[in-house]
């Protein structure tokens, strides 16, 4: 049985490719790969060398501009910069804040997106369609604006406090706290998760739900035993993209968060520009990269699994 739903015809079209024109496909696919190798892969390798204190070659310029650079005495580098960053209690606090915000935002986003998706699937109607349309809107609002709008909405003289003040209630100020960062992250991540999850849920045949209902399954049973497992791959894709997006985010925490502790994206930028300590900044980038790679592995595994279920691997 295939776990990943539908569109079999499309997949089959890729499953039987024209093997004869092998080299042409390879060369057509090359330009974006070269671009990425050149401007992502290569800088990452270079930056890794810099982070372990190899300051020769192309790293020479940045090493001479930057302050507090740990230089390696030998060819295999030194972990000094990593040790410095990982023993800095402020950065460690930033790290735990980053992980916490990422986990919390992802859970809320997936919960909301699942709610909207199930609403649309099981009930449909005008309200459900309006709701799913509404959830897409943040996709089209630049993150800078969204962050600024959220700060003004939840600030000391913002909407939330104004409304509560009408009833004489003193509401908390959420702007420039981690609460606002979570709100901002959820706000900006919601559209993608909703698109992924609704399209996954919509692809499940209604007959299946009807059959389960006839067999006596209740609402919760249908959701847990049929809808979520059948839409597992899209849900996992939504989870990974949301988590990766939040863990490396900069604009939202920069605008809506406190000065310290804040997420690593902000500290990274501070260390690079304001403190002029590029090596420490790069070390933080690699710490976030390790976290993101762990999340990304789940995504690759899920896609591999769905391909396997369809008998393609």
């Amino acid at each position: 049985m295939t776990l990943a739903p539908t569109r079999g015809s499309k997949r089959r079209a890729i499953a039987t490719p024209a093997v004869a024109r092998r080299p042409l496909g390879f060369f057509l696919a090359l330009p974006p790969i070269i671009l990425i190798l050149l401007f992502v892969g290569f800088p990452i390798v270079l930056a890794f060398a810099f982070s372990i204190g190899l300051t020769g070659g192309l790293n020479h310029v940045i090493a001479s501009i930057g302050l507090n650079v740990h230089e390696a005495e030998n060819w295999w580098g030194t972990p000094a910069a990593y040790i410095e960053v990982l023993s800095n209690s402020r950065i460690l606090r930033d790290l735990s804040v980053t992980v916490g915000v990422t986990a919390l935002s992802t859970v809320i986003v997936i919960f909301l997106a699942l709610g909207i998706g199930l609403f649309l699937k099981l009930r449909d109607g005008r309200m459900a369609r309006l709701l799913s349309g509404l959830a897409i809107i943040p996709l089209f609002i630049p993150v800078v604006i969204a962050s600024w709008a959220i700060v003004t909405f939840y600030s000391g003289d913002g909407f939330v406090r104004s409304v509560f003040a009408q009833f004489g209630v003193e509401a908390p100020v959420w702007a420039f706290t981690m609460v606002a960062v979570v709100i901002g992250s959820v706000w900006t991540s919601l559209p993608f998760a909703v698109l992924m999850i609704t399209s996954g849920l919509q692809a499940i045949p209604n007959a299946m739900i009807e059959a389960a209902r006839d067999a006596g399954a209740g609402f919760l049973r249908i959701v847990v035993s049929i809808l979520i497992p059948m839409a597992f791959v899209p849900i996992l894709i939504a989870v990974t993209f949301t988590a990766i997006g939040v863990v490396g985010s900069f604009t939202v925490p920069y605008f809506t968060g406190p000065n310290a502790p804040n997420m690593l994206g902000v500290s990274m930028s501070n260390y690079f520009s304001a403190f002029n300590q590029p090596q420490q900044s790069v070390v933080m980038a690699f710490i976030v990269f390790v976290i993101a790679s762990g999340i990304a592995a789940a995504y690759v595994w899920a896609n591999f699994r769905s391909a396997k279920d369809q008998g393609k691997v």
Binding site: I145, S162, M196, G265
Partner: protein, 281 residues
């Protein structure tokens, strides 16, 4: 008897999603998503604002003339539009042939390439820009249009490859073969059959790329500031140095292209073209 229980269960399943609870959820979502935008938007026309009033003290269009008359802000608008258009163009030239290849050919390293494109997404954006910046220092690309353009194109590669690839893959082989049988050349088949059918996917990719470029702030700020300022990077300085209302006006200006594109491509994006592109096959 069975009919009755069936119906009862069905309505029970529906009930969990109706009634005052879902109404409340709906209202909360409206406030959560639209509230901040409306609250900021009103400010663009507000004289001043006294807490805890729910409306401004008076209305004015003064802030619009402040923004529209400011030369640096005007240049930022121009920069943003030009960069976004250029980014889409460059990105399309680089990525669309690859998208076609991913959809139609099996070749050595295909799967590795697809996952490699994804790795681009996994590296934190700010970390990536920091590493790119250290390379750009060495290559003298800091503060240049070329440097900023590279950063913008990088941000669109995933959209421009994955979404059109899914769109090309969705074009039925049988249609192409039928055209071939009728005597059309390969090029002709591509122009008359494959491309038009994949066009919605390509358009969604173009829209997403345009928005990604228009929205890009972190990399542009790090690489381009202070020489090359776009609208989003200008926002960073705006919110610190100008009254709130100016930032509000600027926000509305910044949102206009996005909303226009939303209306144009809404059907395809909600219709699953975007979601379809994000599953590696």
């Amino acid at each position: 008897m069975t009919m009755i229980t069936k119906r009862a269960r069905k309505s029970a399943a529906r009930l969990s999603f109706s009634g005052p609870l879902s109404g409340l959820f709906f209202v909360l979502m409206v406030v959560f998503i639209l509230g901040p935008l409306a609250w900021l938007g009103i400010r663009a026309f507000a004289e001043s604002w006294t807490f805890p009033n729910l409306g401004p003290d008076g209305w004015t269009l003064r802030w619009w003339s402040v923004v529209l008359g400011d030369e640096t802000l005007g240049r930022a608008v121009q920069n943003s539009l030009a960069l976004a258009a250029l980014t889409v163009l460059v990105s399309a030239c680089i990525c669309l042939p690859a998208a076609y290849a991913f959809a139609r050919y099996e070749f050595w390293g295909r799967r590795t390439f697809l996952i490699g494109l994804f790795a681009l997404n996994a590296f934190p954006k700010m970390g990536l820009y920091v590493t790119i910046a250290s390379l750009f220092y060495a290559l003298n690309l800091m503060g240049t249009v070329m440097g900023v353009l590279i950063v913008h194109v990088l941000g669109t590669v995933v959209f421009m490859t994955w979404i059109p690839a899914a769109a090309f893959a969705a074009v039925p082989r049988s249609l192409e073969e039928a055209a071939r049988d009728a005597g059309a050349t390969k090029l002709r088949v591509f122009i008359s059959v494959t491309f038009p059918l994949a066009l919605p996917g390509i358009l969604v990719a173009a829209v997403m790329s345009f928005l990604a470029s228009f929205d890009e702030a972190q990399g542009t700020y790090l690489i381009g500031a202070p020489d090359i300022m776009t609208m989003p990077t200008q926002m960073y300085t705006l919110v610190l140095n100008y009254p709130n209302q100016v930032a509000a006006v600027f926000s509305i200006l910044l949102a206009i292209p996005s909303v226009a594109l939303l209306l144009a491509a809404h059907k395809h994006i909600v219709g699953g073209t975007l979601a379809e592109g994000f599953q590696i096959k």
